[in-house]
Every structure is written in C-alpha cells, then in structure tokens.
C-alpha cells in the first residue's frame, strides 16, 4: 500500500498536451482529403428547375457533368447570349461529347462502367432544342443513364 502512495505523490498530475496538435492535424488532413474543390469553373448561368421526384446521385466518380445555359456576363461578348454547352471547364459543341465521355470512362474501373451517369445541369429558361441535341448525342454514344439535375421543391 505504502509503495503505491509514494508513486502517486511523485507523479505529475498534468496531462501532456504535446500530442494534441497531432490529433488536430490528423483531423485537418482528413478534411483536406475529403474536401472536393469544385473542379470546373462555371462559365454559364445555371439555375436548375425544381422538382419533387428526386433521386440522389450515388457515387461521385461515376458521374460526369454536362452544363447547358447562357454564358455569364464576362463571356457574353465573345460567346453571345444564346445557350451553350459546357463540358469540364470549357465551352464545347455537341460533337465534343463522345470524346468527353470517353475521357471520363477511362478513369472509371471497368466493372463500374455500366453505372456511369451523365448529370445534365440545365438552366430552366433554356429551350429544349439544344437539350434534345445533347440527348440525341448521348444516346448515339451509348450513354443512356441520364440525370436531370434539379432542386428539391418544398411542397
């Protein structure tokens, strides 16, 4: 008994905080890894319509994004105000879609390629003409799973 008491009396009651920074850094690195910076600069004004029958997109790396909308103010001088297609971070035409899809496809493991989804982020004010052309091109390229991106509607 007396032995224990002696030891206890000698020991320093302070908890060492030296490892605290390491713990915090670990958390920091976790968040840095998890954070996905928006990869594409938005060159179009897109305000997606709202809908109620929404489905969540499951795996992020299985999704490629196609944007359709009017160019933002900065680009209106060069590209005009009619709706344009944006793939990745540049203005594109319908003919660029197959290459864009292929570039995304090779990054995806082979077993998951059948589940690749194309997310169409389209401005609500755009007319169906360009959307239809994009859809036709997607069908021709064999990309059949499409997601019309929309905001949840509060009912």
């Amino acid at each position: 008994m007396s032995k224990f008491q002696k030891k206890r009396g000698k020991s320093n009651p302070e908890v060492s905080t030296a490892s605290l920074p390491d713990i915090i850094f670990m958390l920091l690195f976790f968040f840095m890894m998890v954070t996905v910076m928006r990869d594409a600069e938005m060159k179009l004004m897109i305000n997606t319509p709202s809908a109620s029958e929404l489905v969540k997109l499951s795996e992020k790396n299985l999704v490629n994004y196609l944007y359709i909308g009017k160019p933002v103010k900065k680009f209106q001088e060069t590209y005009g105000t009619s709706p344009r297609l944006q793939l990745g971070d540049k203005f594109s035409t319908i003919a660029d879609i197959p290459l864009f899809l292929e570039k995304h496809k090779i990054k995806v493991p082979e077993a998951k390629r059948g589940r690749i989804t194309s997310s169409l982020k389209v401005d609500g004010e755009v007319t169906m003409g360009i959307v239809q052309d994009v859809k036709t091109q997607l069908r021709k390229s064999g990309q059949l799973i499409v997601n019309y991106s929309a905001k949840p509607r509060n009912e």
């Binding site: 915090i24 989804t117 007319t127 991106s149």
Partner: protein, 186 residues
C-alpha cells in the same frame, strides 16, 4: 556584449509547441467552414438506345396511349385536350391504373404507354415539370402497390431489388419520347 550573451545562454532553446494546436484548429475550422458537401439530386432517366427509325405508336391501341404534347408556348395537350400541369399526375395515375375499368383508359398497367412530345422551343423548366409529374404518377402507383404487398414504408430505393422488380413488373414505366417538333423559336 558580455551581458547579452549571458541572457542568451539562459534562454531555453525549446520552441513552445502549445500554440500548435491553436494553429491547427484554425486551419481545421477554415476547412470545416469552406467544405460544402454538395448533394446532387435530380430526376433519373433511362434513355432508349439510339436507332434511326422512330417507334411507331400509331399501331398501338389508342386507349393504351396517354399522349402528352408540350408546345413552344409551354402549353399542354393531354389526349388532344388542353390541360394543366397540376392535373397531369392525377390523370396519368387514373389512366395507368384505370380503377373504374373505363373503356377509354389503359387495359391494364402493363399495357399503358405514356408518349411525351415537345417542341424545340419548349422551356426546359416546363419539360422537367411535366416529366416530374409523370414520374411522380408512377412513383405514387408503385408506392400504393408496395403498401398492398404489405410493405409499410411504401416504395423506396432501399427495398431489395427483387421486390422492386416485382413492383415494377406489375406497373412498368413506359415513357416514350418522340423526336420534338420544330415549330417554336429556340
């Protein structure tokens, strides 16, 4: 000179690591605040494979086809009568399930076909709204079917795939989209 050196010698050459945690916390909070976990949601659609010739719906029995036309002025024509988007869901549900066995509605849910046609000048917003209502009609019917089968939670994507297949087998979603007309201004 001599004095200075003596003070330097007295100083401990350890860096105080106590503030490290604060710096790390600051960074951590910055990342926490800037991280936006973007949840992308939308209406999932399966497009038909590409073929040169369009499917001919005129051959089908007229009572089994629920035609929806949207013109460039975003007006609706449902089964050759003007209609509002707000009525679309109920009408589509009645058409598919045909609870009162009417002669002009679908014979049975498996034979029902919804034909959607729009103009190149139709607003995308209207198109999505119409598509949403049609999808909603099917979702509601699947929900009812699931409840009839004894699934309390109704239809959702968490159900086992066999159950979902069974429900969708009874009420398959057949939505045919025709090539749009080009009357309106794009």
């Amino acid at each position: 000179m001599f004095n200075k050196r003596s003070t330097r010698d007295k100083m401990s050459n350890e860096v105080n690591a106590g503030s490290m945690a604060d710096i790390a916390f600051l960074l951590l909070i910055f990342f926490l605040v800037t991280t936006t976990i973007v949840e992308d949601k939308g209406i999932r659609v399966k497009l038909p494979p590409w073929s040169e010739d369009e499917p001919d719906i005129t051959k089908l029995n007229k009572r089994n086809v629920f035609s929806v036309l949207v013109n460039a002025q975003n007006q609706l024509l449902v089964r050759n009568e003007p209609a509002a988007i707000s009525d679309l869901r109920e009408r589509a549900k009645e058409f598919i399930s045909n609870p009162s066995r009417r002669e002009d509605l679908a014979e049975k849910p498996t034979k029902a076909i919804i034909s959607l046609k729009n103009d190149r000048g139709t607003n995308y917003k209207t198109y999505v709204e119409v598509y949403n209502e049609l999808k909603g009609a099917y979702n509601d019917l699947w929900d009812e079917e699931a409840k009839r089968m004894g699934i309390d939670g109704g239809y959702n994507d968490d159900l086992p795939i066999e159950t979902r297949r069974a429900i969708k087998g009874k009420i398959p979603m057949v939505l045919s989209e025709a090539e749009p007309t080009a009357f309106g201004k794009e």
